[in-house]
Every structure is written in C-alpha cells, then in structure tokens.
Symmetry: C2
Subunit: 341 residues, 2 copies
C-alpha cells in the first residue's frame, strides 16, 4: 500500500495517476485540510474536493478546482445580493459544501463524510482528510495575519509572507485511516505529491505524531519536487520560498525535505541539479514531472513506483545506482538520506 | 397607505396587483414567516421569497414558488450525495438562502435582510416579514407533530390535521414596519390576501398585539376569500377546513374572519353566498378572484380599492349599497361587521 500526501492540483494529478495504475486497496491519499474554511456558513475543503473531483473524473482541468461543465447561477445571484463572491463556488460544487456542512453539523467526522462522498461519486481509491480536527493554515504577511483562502484566493498570493502557522496542528491527530496507514506494516512507501511544501505538505507534517512516524518509517519516503527550473508549475511556492529567504530551486526543495525523505523526483529540466541533490544524501529520480493529461499522470506515477522499488531493493550502500535515473545522470545515491544533515 | 397581509402564492399575486396600481409608499406587505425553517443549514423564508420574487418579476408562474428560468444543478448534486431533496431549491434561489442565513448569523434582523434583498432586486414597494422573531407553524396531525414544510411539502398536505399551533407567536411582536403601519394614522385599509386563513393569515394574527390592533382599527379591514365554489385555488385550505370540522365554503371564511374584517371579497362563482355573508354582518364585494395573470391581479386589486373606498365613505347605516357589488347582487351591508357575532 502506498500512502500519498497531497495538497490541491499537483496532488490531485499525481494521486490520479497512481489510482489509474494501482488497485483501490493499494492507495491511500491523505489530503491537506489546513486550507479548509467556513465561508458563507459552509464548510469548504478545497484540497479534498480537488482530489476527489479529479479521481471521480469530474474535475475542471482548466481551473484546477471545481467541477467540469459547472454553472454559476447561485454565484451570480449572490453577487446581485451583495454577498461575498471572491471565492468562486459553482452550483454543483455548492451542493458538496452544503451536504458536507450539514453532515458535520450532525456529528459525522470529516473522514466519514469524505468516505460517503467518494462512494457517491464512484471513487474507489481511498481519499481521506489529513485529520478530522480543525487545523488552520495562517500566514503572517505584510498585510497582517491572513487565513489561507484569504491569502491564496482573495489576495491572490500578493502579500509578502514572513511566517506560516498551522493553528491547531500540533494537537490534531491524523485521521484514523491516515494514522492506521502510518502504522501499517504493509505500507510500501510514502509519496509527497508535487504540492506546495510550505502550504500543502507542511500542514500534514505538522500534525501530532506524523513527522515522527515518517522519520521512523522503514518503508521508503519519496517526494516529487513542485518546482521546474526554479518556478512553480502553479501557485506561490517559488514566491514564498523567496520571501522566506531561500532561493527557489529544486535544490531548496531537497533541503526542505531532507530529513524526511529517502528520494526526490525532479524534473528533466532540473537534470543538472541531480548531483547536488544526491550529494545532500537523497536518491534522485529524474522524470518529466509536468502532468498535462492523464497519460502524463500515469507515466509519472509509474516512474515513482519504479523509484520506490529501486530504493526498497537497493543495498544500503552509497554507490547503488538509481534505477529511475537515466544512465547519463550524474546521480549518487545515499542510504543515509533520512538522517540529519 | 394600504397594509397587506400575505402568505405565499395568493398573497404574492394580490400584492403584485396592488403594487402595479399604487405607488411604493402607499403599500406595505407584511408576510407570514410561520413557514420559515432551517433546512440544510439555511434559513428559508418561503412566503417572503414568493412575494418578493413576484414583485421583482422574477417568480416562476408555473410552480408558484422559486425563480423563473431556474437551474437545478445543486439539487441534482445534492441528490447524488444522498442529501435531502424533498424541498426543491434552485441554484439562484439557493443563493437567496445562503445570503440570508449569512446575514442573520451576523446579527441582522430578517426585516433588514429583506429590505436589502428588495433593494438589490429593484422592488420599491415595501415587503416586510410579519415579525423578526422566530415563529413556527406546527401542525398536529394523525402522523404526529409536523412542522409546516414537512406537512406542506414533504408530506404533500396528506396527513389529517387536528390542530395548528403558531409556536412563539404570542410573544413575538410584529416587525417594526408592520407595527408602525398598524399604528399609523395614515393607514387607509388593511387587506387580507386570498391566502390560506389557517396557515398563512392566522400566524400573522397570532402575533403579540396584532389581533387587538386590527380589532380597534378605524380604517376598513377587508379579506379576500381564498375559496371559489368551496375549493381552494391552490393548497390545502378546503381540506384542512373539513378536517377541523367545518364545511369548506366562502361562508365559512366569512365566519372565520367575522370579528376582524369589515368586508369580504368573494368570487363571482360564489355569488349566491353574498346574502348569507351580508347577513353575517359583512360588506361583500363580488369579483373574479382567480388571478391567472398580472391583468387579473390588477383588476382584483382595483376592485378591492373601490371596495375599501365604499366602506370608508358609506354611512354607518345598514342600507348603504356596496359599490363593488354588481347592481343585481343581493348583498346587504352591515355596519356592525367587526363586532362580536
């Protein structure tokens, strides 16, 4: 079984690729809920919805969020009534939030609601929230404190970020299925999706016990860099990296994940960073990480599974070649990848 | 100024007719909110919405509720998710409830929210809730206690009704504008719309002080019978009348309103009940009360205004002819109309 840690769009794409090549029982996707918020009285779980909509084949590939072929009549009326419309909610999407809010109010957990929605939409691979507790990603910016969606959507990631907090995370246990997966001896690997490390993966890692569990895992842990040539495919990862005083680069992603992962999947276009990242002690897999369609998603997923196998089967010697890297790749593997720097 | 007491469809139609022939400052429509309920976490005010949508020209004339040209994508998705769909909410209509719920949660009164919605939709005639307090119409039936929408929509008025309560009404004051109108010396008349007397008008009359104010009003009070030939144009008025042990007839409507109104508008088809109703002490206006279109609404509204004038100007002698009744009508007017039987 592969445990997949995912944020929004990038996470959804890779999770979908894995779901296309692995049977349902072999995948568990634990999704960031630090972006969740109550808006217009509705409990909205943007990342969870993006992942589920994608695996259900309902997602809007153009926006990266919401449902394909969506209508916007509620939003148009809400605008006419002077309501808040900066967070776009399609008519069908709205029903998701209404149904979720109603069930949470009746005492169901977010895990239970998510499982019911997956069933209703025919999603057989397991998608679970990272936690059933409330965790809020809060950004300290030059415009003051901003909750995630206010920063990300309303303010279009424009404010300068000084610090990011995950309020409630330290006391929030992972959701039951996520916790069980972390403790499951059948766990074959953990994959960090090419989601924003600061905003999507970090909240998951900040949950009570998760970092510790990952650090002590015998199964391989691999991450996929969300940067290509120092730029994010989508979103503010590179911008935030700069604002936090770091150089936006896949090398910085490697440094960020260094003590947690055994290997890093980097893009072909970052090929020349391979040796540097390998020198940091990580296995490196070089691949086309840009996922423009389902075929791309499946191809990257396949590469990652090969990479995982190569890590799992390789001897703990620092000369073992990386099966995933092209022969010409100057990658040096290092078995002490998840130790301290 | 004319104060109009209205329930749903029939109320909306007559209020619209009056609004088409009177300037905005001359009409105040106080609408039943005993049907209001919280459903899917949303505060829904069905009668208020029907009246506002109608005066805004947005109403769906086929259903009698909701918005013309509505889409149903949220409802379809909600159904797929196993949510409650017995109360049909169109996509645009949903925005009304989301916006209302949000504003009530932020501390606005229903009167304030309603005024804002009217402004947003270009409705210049004043439409106000009967009260800003919570009042719930509850039906005692052979299936047990049912709140209004569960009886009316979910159970399609099928259960047999033994009793109707308006929970909270006795302690709920009328809304500020409604209360002000009742005390306004410029009040020219009060009109009870052809709404269900038991379910739509009675809750309004049950509010703290309203019945007393109406009984002591010097301005004429007139009601429009919702029955034609012993049958309701729409809804369960006749059925409930029977279940409560009365004969469904405009004569029974007259008896129901006897101590409150000076005159009753009855349909042409109930022409032969005129003498009976007049003998009960009420002025009678005979008119076509079926409103199939706006022209019908305006015609009935005009007749009612004439009827009001005739009551206001007639000497308190029991021989004054009713200006609204056709010359052939065997109607006898009676000046003691609002006294005890």
């Amino acid at each position: 079984m592969i445990l997949v840690l995912a944020g929004g769009v990038g996470g959804a794409k890779l999770a979908n690729g894995l779901a296309k090549i692995l049977p349902p029982e072999d995948v568990l996707v634990a999704v960031n809920t630090g972006d969740d918020f109550v808006h217009l009285g509705l409990h909205i779980s943007p990342d969870l919805d993006t992942v589920i909509y994608t695996l259900a084949g309902m997602n809007n590939p153009e926006t990266g969020w919401g449902i394909a072929g969506e209508t916007w009549n509620a939003m148009a009326m809400l605008e006419r009534l002077g309501g808040e419309t900066w967070f776009r909610l399609g008519d069908r999407d709205l029903a998701t939030h209404i149904a979720r809010t109603e069930r949470l109010r009746k005492g169901q957990t977010l895990s239970e609601v998510t499982a019911e929605f997956c069933r209703a939409w025919g999603v057989r691979h397991r998608i679970v929230p990272m936690t059933d507790h409330e965790v809020a990603t809060v950004l300290h910016t030059d415009e003051g404190l901003l909750s995630f969606q206010h920063y990300f959507v309303r303010r279009r990631c424009e404010p300068r970020v000084n610090r990011i907090d995950f309020v409630g995370a330290a006391n929030a246990p992972p959701s039951p299925a996520f916790a069980a997966a972390l403790a499951d001896p059948r766990l074959r690997a953990v994959v960090f999706c090419p989601s924003n490390p600061y905003l999507s993966i970090q909240p998951i890692l900040s949950l009570a016990g998760v970092r510790h569990a990952l650090e002590n895992l015998s199964a391989p842990v691999v991450a996929v860099s969300p940067l290509i040539g120092g730029a994010a495919v989508k979103g503010p990862a590179a911008k935030i990296m700069r604002e936090l005083g770091n150089t936006p680069s896949t090398a910085e992603i490697a440094r960020f994940y260094l003590n947690l992962v055994d290997g890093l999947v980097i893009d072909d276009r970052d090929h020349d960073l391979g040796p540097c990242i390998a020198a940091m002690g990580l296995r490196v897999c070089i691949s086309d990480t840009l996922m423009n369609n389902v075929a791309d998603q499946m191809q990257l997923a396949g590469k990652i599974l090969d990479f995982i196998s190569s890590i799992a089967t390789s001897a703990p010697a620092n000369t073992s070649p990386n099966s995933c890297s092209p022969p010409s790749s100057p990658v040096v593997s290092n078995p002490t990848s998840r130790g301290p720097r």
